[in-house]
């Protein structure tokens, strides 16, 4: 399934946060969305997920998603790992994962729907009865990604998953995303860590002031001038 974003437009009152942004993410692709704070990365992801109103078009396969409610969009095969993780800290780890099942399309999926996630993130299995708020930041990020994955989405959206994590945990998160892409999901990753993202993604779009400024490939990851230039342009 291919996610196609066409002429996406988001306004908050007088602020034009996203201006006519167009891009696409195919199955098995990892696409980066980079840019400084306030560039419109979160607005783009939230608009795709139906959390904020937007103009333009967002299609998954042949289905138009724009204008639908977020719970319906979740059920068409999109899952968002939101900024700040937004896990339910008073619920247990496993209850958080069970909530992820709400977005699963096939009602009678596997009887042990968490096996895949527990295999990828063993710490979640070990702490499955623990209150989610007691996990460390990195563990909570694994939970947020796992919660999105149990819905078995076609498209995984991530909003700054590396924010506030220790460097070795950031490595772990990027490695996990590589595994997810290998499985054939379309992955859209919004990040401030430009260099890491450009290196990991098939292509990375640079957002600035709500507009798509340019597109970088993995070969540009070590081209510091180009990266810095992209941010300052």
């Amino acid at each position: 399934m291919k996610l196609v974003v066409d002429n996406l437009d988001v306004r908050y009152g007088g602020v034009h946060a996203v201006r006519a942004v167009s891009f696409s993410v195919g199955a098995g692709e990892l696409v980066g969305l980079i840019g400084p704070n306030g560039a419109g990365k979160s607005s783009t992801l939230n608009a795709i997920m139906g959390l904020i109103p937007a103009g333009g078009s967002v299609r998954l396969g042949d289905e138009e998603l724009l204008g639908r409610r977020p719970e319906e969009i979740a059920r068409t095969g999109l899952a968002l790992v939101p900024e700040g993780r937004r896990i339910f800290s008073e619920l247990s780890v496993e209850e958080n994962l069970r909530l992820g099942l709400a977005g699963r399309r096939a009602r009678n999926g596997p009887s042990t729907p968490f096996d895949g996630v527990y295999e990828q993130f063993p710490i979640l299995h070990q702490f499955r009865r623990r209150q989610a708020g007691l996990l460390s930041g990195g563990q909570q990020q694994q939970l947020a990604i796992g919660r999105a994955l149990v819905a078995e989405p076609d498209v995984l959206l991530l909003d700054e998953p590396s924010l506030g994590l220790a460097p070795n945990v950031v490595d772990f998160v990027f490695a996990a995303l590589a595994v997810v892409r290998e499985r054939g999901l379309a992955v859209l990753l919004a990040e401030q860590r430009a260099q890491r993202t450009v290196a990991a993604a098939d292509r990375s779009h640079v957002l600035g002031g709500g507009e798509l400024r340019l597109t970088l490939g993995p070969q540009d990851a070590d081209d510091t001038d180009k990266l810095v230039g992209a941010y300052l342009s």
Partner: protein
């Protein structure tokens, strides 16, 4: 002041009834962030259904069925016509709207049935005393406690053991994130409103047995006391709400029976003064022991 066994039993049964109302109010608050001031009018409507059924000579069970039907239908109508269109508005707007609904319903009852009200005669059999080890206890006191305990246990099982229960709990913690994960907002709200309505219907039956004279302001004062109890206990979580509702109901029932009449008229003044003190000392509620654990 002398406390008799009957006073204690009255305290327990009023506490049980108030606990049910507190949970009913708290459930809807959890998912809609709306304090439903019109909750008492749901109970009033159910009580009138019982009174009418007994006037028509219906058997008790048919009256109870009618009571449930009326209260549940009214709950759904309230949700569709008032709560849903106002969802997401400021709490002040929603509170004022439920005030309006409350007085609308009360005045409809006033126009339809007059201020003198009706008597539900069919339920009085439950009001006779039982002789337990030489102590006279009204049956309704025992029935109320058992019914309330069973309802709250069932509700707790629903909330902790079922999928819809998990969705309801998550929605009351962070509705936006729950919806983002695919939790159906309208279904969660409808279930909360229906359970809340069912509790109102049960309360209507229990209260009507205790005081069979049904007037348009039936349960109005109780609702105010319960809202105070919910605030004392802590909104949003069933167990604190239960404890809050129970303790304020128990205090009211016990003192109301035990104090001589010339003192019990000050009872509500004392109860609300106590509520103010509690809110000053423990703003998050008397029974909210949850630690906020959040890591960044």
């Amino acid at each position: 002041m002398t406390v008799t066994w009957q006073n204690l039993a009255d305290g327990f049964s009023l506490g049980a009834i108030f606990a049910l109302m507190a949970v009913g109010v708290g459930l809807v608050f959890g998912v809609l962030r709306l304090v439903n001031f019109a909750y008492g009018q749901l109970v009033m409507a159910g009580a009138f259904a019982l009174a009418l059924a007994s006037q028509w000579g219906w058997p008790l069970w048919a009256g109870i069925v009618l009571c449930f039907a009326v209260v549940l239908a009214l709950s759904l109508v309230m949700d569709r016509l008032v709560f849903r269109p106002l969802r997401g508005h400021s709490p002040a707007v929603m509170l004022v709207a439920t005030f309006a609904v409350a007085f609308l319903l009360e005045n409809i009852a006033l126009l339809s049935f007059g201020s003198l009200g009706k008597i539900a005669t069919s339920v009085t059999s439950l009001n006779r005393p039982w002789d337990i080890f030489g102590v006279q206890i009204r049956r309704i006191a025992v029935v109320a406690v058992i019914v309330a305990a069973a309802c709250l246990l069932l509700l707790q099982l629903l909330l902790t053991r079922t999928e819809i229960g998990l969705h309801m709990r998550a929605s009351s913690m962070d509705f936006a994130t729950a919806r983002m994960l695919g939790v159906r907002a309208n279904r969660v709200i409808a279930v909360a409103v229906l359970i809340s309505g069912a509790l109102a219907a049960i309360v209507a039956v229990l209260l009507t047995v205790q005081s069979p004279l049904v007037t348009p302001d039936f349960a109005l004062q109780n609702t105010i006391v319960v809202l105070a109890g919910v605030v004392v206990g802590g909104l949003n979580r069933p167990i604190p709400a239960t404890l809050g509702g129970f303790s304020i109901g128990f205090a009211t029932g016990l003192l109301g029976g035990a104090l001589p009449t010339n003192q019990s008229q000050y009872l509500h003044a004392f109860v609300f003064a106590a509520v103010i003190v509690v809110l000053l000392v423990r703003p998050r509620g008397l029974f909210d022991f949850s630690r906020t654990v959040e890591r960044v």
